[in-house]
């Protein structure tokens, strides 16, 4: 036990004496969240949109004028047909399209009800939501001007269609995504690198030749990074509550408990990588490939998994961050309890056990 403690202390020395690593470990999460905080509060200006005006009547004209007058929008050109909209989106030229159906004013004046279609590129959720809100308020404004404050007899329904992400799954999803990514990165990469560094330095030879059990070497590598990860979770949650005003809806205790499961899974992944790599560069490269990319692409954090082709959907199931992301989202945003996330937690737990078994099978008590 004393040996283990002394080893853990040594690991902390390594971490705290390397300023750059230290900055990355603790600074990165904070910097990311603060940057994101600013990105969230920044208004969107001059978003390029197109207007398809089939109505070409007084009402549509006036609404278009209001949109053009707004600083938020930059009306590109008015297309004549519906089909061109899809093409414009695909080229990435526009953020939003507005379609006025035929007889817009007529509907409005005769039935007191008119429909207006707003199509937004929701792969960029934040921009899409903000822009549709702006449009809605412009339309509302126009409506009010017609009725001059009296209870509106006229109703314009803005029918919003979110392209690429219809359910708008992504609201406030940044924090869970960041938690998944940062913990994966720290636990996997730092563990892998710190074990491989001992190999490179040649100290692994001495440690192996010592009576200290090799498996204890690994165990003592875990402790510091586990603690560091817990500190990071805390700082992320504090920032999210007080800086971004996104408090945790569910049980904090539950959140920490599942995070612990996720951290352990990540540590074992790091261990496996360290066993398989001989140099720090290899370890770092494999870690990045195994954590950053899948988390960005396949966890549902950036891109909705539902819309992916089948093979990618299948692959996404072996990405631990996908499951953790679902869990954190449920607890933080929906306030769900353990009964709704037990399945995902079990999957993570299973992954941890599998990784540990593979690692132990491959673990060498000798060199080569």
């Amino acid at each position: 036990m004393k040996q283990l403690l002394s080893f853990v202390i040594k690991e902390f020395h390594h971490v705290f004496r390397d300023r750059k690593t230290l900055l990355m470990l603790f600074g990165l999460p904070i910097a990311q969240i603060i940057l994101f905080g600013f990105a969230l509060t920044n208004e969107i200006k001059n978003a390029k949109i197109i207007v398809v005006d089939y109505a070409k009547d007084a009402a549509s004209r006036q609404i278009i004028d209001k949109i053009e007058a707004s600083k938020y929008f930059d009306v590109e050109n008015s297309l004549s047909s519906h089909e061109e909209i899809e093409a414009a989106f695909k080229e990435g030229k526009i953020k939003m399209a507005i379609v006025f159906p035929l007889n817009f004013y007529e509907d409005l004046s005769r039935t007191n009800k008119a429909q207006l279609q707003v199509i937004a590129d929701a792969s960029d959720i934040n921009t899409a939501t903000t822009l549709t809100n702006y449009i809605s308020s412009i339309v509302m404004d126009y409506q009010n001007s017609l009725t001059r404050g009296i209870k509106p007899p006229f109703q314009i329904q803005t029918e919003v269609r979110m392209l690429y992400n219809p359910q708008l799954k992504g609201e406030h999803t940044f924090i869970p995504g960041m938690m998944a990514m940062i913990m994966l990165l720290i636990c996997v990469m730092m563990t892998a690198i710190s074990i491989v560094r001992e190999k490179e330095l040649g100290t692994m030879e001495i440690l192996l030749v010592s009576p200290f059990k090799p498996i204890m070497v690994i165990a003592s590598k875990f402790v510091p990074y586990l603690l560091i990860s817990l500190v990071n979770i805390t700082s992320i949650l504090l920032l999210s509550t007080y800086f971004l005003k996104l408090p945790v809806q569910g049980s904090i205790f539950l959140l920490y408990a599942v995070s612990l499961v996720f951290i352990i899974t990540s540590l074992f992944l790091g261990l496996l990588i360290s066993i398989k790599s001989e140099s720090q560069q290899t370890a770092m490269f494999i870690s990045l490939m195994a954590t950053m990319l899948p988390t960005l692409l396949l966890s549902g954090f950036m891109f909705p998994i539902e819309n992916m082709p089948l093979p990618l959907r299948v692959i996404s199931n072996i990405v631990p961050s996908k499951w953790f992301y679902i869990i954190v989202k449920s607890i933080m945003i929906k306030g769900s309890g353990f009964q709704t996330i037990w399945k995902e937690t079990l999957i993570l737990f299973g992954m941890a056990v599998a990784l540990l078994l593979i690692s132990l099978r491959n673990f060498k008590i000798r060199l080569a």
Binding site: H14, D18, I206, F212, R366, L367
Partner: protein
């Protein structure tokens, strides 16, 4: 104390032969040297004995324990200093030492007597980060770390490589003192001049042992009369000797060239001197000399044709 029987080790699925059929014994309390150039197989042998590698065939025991089956027991009773000085550069001198002490289940205090002589030299820098120490001091600290648990057998893999001549000499003096305290030491080195400081040595080249004996035994077994020769134009002399009949071998050796004759008579050496003078050499000096370990190594290497490197 160490018994090695017919150890063979290959890498890359048998393509690279690191050790072929090595057998040797080291007695308790002996300072045993493994002498050979880089790539001779010294490190492979050390790693097998310290249980870090498995041999392809053959057996070995250290302190009575089998290197394969009883690896845990061996790990408790040996000290090992790998080729690269393996210390944590970002820990201080004292932190490194106390870390290794704890890992080996002991404390600095408990075995301070053993390392005192050595540690005293680096103690003034005990709060300095190891990365900022000189090569000589790192080497001393590494030795302290390998000794801290009072091992029965100490394995030192090229402890003096890359260390300057003064530090090397100091290091060997330290080894002598450790030996006097009863520790069995197996040390490897590529420097032939260090061989004479060992009790017994094994000359190793290309995974094969050329000879095992005391340093005196090895030089006695040279079997030929060796001469040193010099003149004012050394390179010219070497070339002229290579073209002279009657010369069996000739090579540079510090200030002199070392030569052996095909047959040893006074007449032949006189003839050589006359011949060299006629070629314009001045300040000629020819004398009989005692062969060194390096002379023996060169002879053994060139005699064992399979080990011979290509002549230029």
């Amino acid at each position: 104390m160490i018994q090695i029987n017919h150890i063979t080790k290959t890498y890359n699925k048998g393509i690279v032969r690191a050790l072929s059929d090595i057998s040797l014994n080291v007695e308790r309390g002996e300072l045993f040297g493994l002498i050979g150039p880089d790539g001779a197989g010294k490190t492979s042998l050390f790693r097998i004995l310290t249980t870090l590698l498995l041999p392809d065939s053959g057996t070995a025991t250290v302190a009575g324990f089998d290197c394969v089956k009883d690896y845990k027991k061996i790990r408790e009773s040996v000290g090992y200093m790998p080729g690269k000085f393996s210390l944590y550069q970002d820990l201080t001198v004292e932190e490194n030492l106390s870390f290794f002490a704890t890992i080996f289940g002991t404390t600095i205090k408990e075995n301070y007597e053993l390392i005192k002589d050595i540690y005293i030299q680096i103690e003034p820098f005990k709060n300095r980060r190891t990365g900022q120490l000189s090569g000589g001091m790192k080497q001393k600290l590494a030795l302290c770390c390998a000794l801290i648990h009072k091992p029965e057998v100490l394995f030192l893999d090229e402890p003096t490589t890359g260390v300057d001549a003064v530090s090397r000499k100091e290091f060997w003096e330290m080894l002598k003192r450790l030996k006097d305290q009863g520790i069995t030491i197996m040390v490897s080195t590529p420097y032939m001049d260090e061989a004479s400081l060992c009790d017994r040595i094994a000359l190793i080249q290309s995974g094969t042992i050329l000879s095992i004996d005391t340093p005196e035994g090895i030089t006695k077994a040279y079997g030929e009369i060796l001469f040193g020769i010099k003149s004012s134009k050394m390179y010219q002399l070497l070339q002229d000797l290579r073209n002279s009949p009657g010369i069996a071998s000739s090579y540079a050796f510090g200030e002199y060239l070392h030569i052996t004759f095909k047959s040893n008579t006074n007449k032949i050496s006189e003839e050589l001197m006359t011949h060299l003078q006629s070629l314009g050499h001045t300040n000629l000096d020819l004398k009989e000399i005692e062969p060194t370990i390096e002379d023996c190594f060169i002879k053994l290497m060139t005699n064992t044709s399979s080990l011979q490197t290509k002549p230029i």
